[in-house]
Structure formats: C-alpha cells, structure tokens
C-alpha cells in the first residue's frame, strides 16, 4: 500500500488498522475518518480486516448468555435476601417434605388490643378511686373512735368521784357540755375537723 497516497506516515496498513480500532471505539475524528476511508477504498486486505472486525464486534455484542441454573439462583436468594433463622428454615423444609402449608401467623387485631388497654386503664382508675374512698372512710371512723374515747374518759373520771351530788354535778356541768361537744353525737362525721376546736 502507498502510505503517502493514503495520507498515513510509515506503514499505511498499520496506521489504517489503528484507526479502525479508534473507529470501533467511537473515538475517531473527521480527518482520520476521511483518511481511513480513502485507504480502505484502495486496500482490499484492510477492507476485509474492517469487515471481519465489524462482524466480530457485532457478534460479540449479541452473544447470548446461558441462563444461570435455578438451583444456583435459589441458593443465592436463600443465602442473602431471603435468609431466615435456621429453625424456621428447617421447619419450612420439613413442612414442604410433608406437603403441608406453613401455618398462618396469628394476626393481632389493633381494635382488640385497644379495647383491652382501655378496660385495663378503667379498672386501675376505679381501684385507685375506691381505695381512696376506703381510706377516707377509715380516717373518719378512726377520728370518731377517738372522740368516743374522750367522752368515755370524761365519764370514767366523773364516776370516779364519789357521791351522788358529785355525779349530778358532773352530769349537769361536766358530762353534758362534753357530750354536746363530742362530734360523734353532733353530726361529727360530716363536720369539718377544724370547726370543732
């Protein structure tokens, strides 16, 4: 081939084949493309090289891939995205061998959970309130018993004094006012504690 006539320095065919690789890579400029076309128009050997090369690259780009066997694909998913705990995998395999379906998981219904929670909360409130009421009642009883003890103590003091006159005097001037002041005999349960003193 005449390198000077093709516009290539040195080996014209070697330069043309270098440009063919650039062409196949999509990296050839306009001037090089014109020089290459001029060479190919005159060189049957390089033209055949170009045609074979084009066919090879097209064939490689369309080369079909064999399908990965299903067992390999299943193994990949089992070891990665579908990975489960060993006992679950063992149970599942056993069920599959027996032709059984996996048991359906119990589904927890939110409404039922909410109803249970509401009932539990109401029960707690009621117990607290009842306990509070019982405590108040116990306090009132304790105070009434204390008042009664005071009355009986006064009575015992009066009885200790001798003579009917002393007793009469005590009834008229000691016990009677004390009885009037005793809250248990004078609506003491409902009266505020402070008002008695």
């Amino acid at each position: 081939m005449n390198a000077a006539r093709d516009g290539f320095a040195g080996d014209g065919c070697g330069a043309a084949r270098g440009l063919l690789h650039a062409l196949w890579d999509g990296e050839i400029g306009d001037a090089d493309r014109r020089a290459l076309d001029a060479h190919l128009a005159r060189c049957a050997e390089c033209r055949a090289f170009a045609e074979r090369g084009g066919a090879l690259l097209a064939g490689l780009a369309a080369l079909p891939d064999p399908a990965l066997p299903d067992d390999a694909l299943a193994a990949v998913f089992a070891a990665t995205v579908d990975r489960r705990r060993p006992e679950e995998a063992r149970d599942s395999a056993a069920r599959e061998r027996r032709g059984m379906r996996a048991p359906a998981r119990r589904r927890v219904r939110p409404r039922i959970v909410l109803a249970f929670a509401s009932c539990a909360a109401a029960l707690v409130v009621a117990l607290v309130a009842a306990d509070g009421r019982r405590a108040a009642e116990r306090e009132r009883i304790r105070r009434a018993e204390a008042d009664a003890n005071i009355v009986f103590a006064i009575a015992r003091g009066a009885l200790a004094r001798s003579g009917a006159a002393a007793l009469d005097d005590a009834v008229g001037r000691g016990i009677a006012p004390a009885l009037r002041a005793a809250p248990i005999l004078n609506s003491a349960v409902d009266a505020p504690r402070g008002r008695r003193n």
Binding site: R17, G18, H21, W24, D25, A48, F49, E51, R52, G53, G54, A55, L56, L57, G59, L60, A61, A62, L63, P64, D65, P66, A67, L68, P69, A72, L73, A75, V76, F77, A79, T80, V81
Partner: protein, 169 residues
Amino acid sequence: MNDDAFRSAVLEHKDRVFGYAARLLGDREEAKDVAQEALTRMWERREAIEGGDGARFWLLRAAHNLCVDRLRRRGARFEVGDGALDEIEAGDCAPDRAACGRETAAAIERALAGLPARDRAALLLREAHGLSYDELAATLGVPLGTAKALLHRAREKAQRALLAAGVRP
C-alpha cells in the same frame, strides 16, 4: 442498595455473570459456583454498591477475580486452553439475547475458546458486556493504555481465528 434493588440486580445480571465465568473458565459447574459466590458477595457489599451499571461492573469484576483465582490454581498463569464454550447452546440463551445467529455465535464461541484467557476476558468485558476502558483497566488490573493495547491485540487474534475457521463476513 436495598433488598428490592439487590433482588432486581441479581435477576438482571445473573446470566451475564454466569456466561462470563463459563466462557472464561470453560467449565459450567465452576462457572455456577463463581456466579453464586459473586452474587452472594454483592449482598455483603450492597451498602457500597449502586444499582444498574454499578452492580453490573461490580459483579463482572468480582466474577473476573474469582475466575482468575481458579485459573491460577489450575496452572499458575492466567491462561486456559479450549474450554467448554461449545457446550453453551442456543437453547440456554436468555430470551433477550437470543437474536444472535446460531452459526455466527458458534464460530465466535470457538474463536474465543482458542484465545488466551486474558484476551478472552478483554474481549468479553469490553465487547460483550460493554465495560468502558477505565472499567476494563480496573478489572484487569492494568493501566489504561495497556488495557487498550491488550484489547486491540485480542480483536486481531479473534479475527485471525475466525478467518482460520473459514468465517467470512
């Protein structure tokens, strides 16, 4: 890459990875192991891998490295003789890539099988699987210029193999 993206990437690239390994190793059983291992490794590295082309490049590179390890265990060089590429029949083809003519595909398979493994890897990675030169260089572990020169020589060797086999364009 989340679970769904991983699953999609596996389904999209599984045949590509298996086919690349089968052609490079010339052994379908070994190729199955390689594909399985590469796909599983992608799961372990999924946080650092983007889907689509990122997964394609990552998987091909992983498969290539696994194949090179196996080839070296066979004979200390990144070389392999005629393999079992002829065993890959049109019936095995993925539907979307089955358009290739059976005769041309068979001739190219034979031409590939006669090449050294390194040349075969360069041709497959660049021309069949569309890696860029940068990706090709990274996968082969060579500088960019070396990757280009390697690919150009591989193209010419494959051409000569096709010519010797009587294939005419």
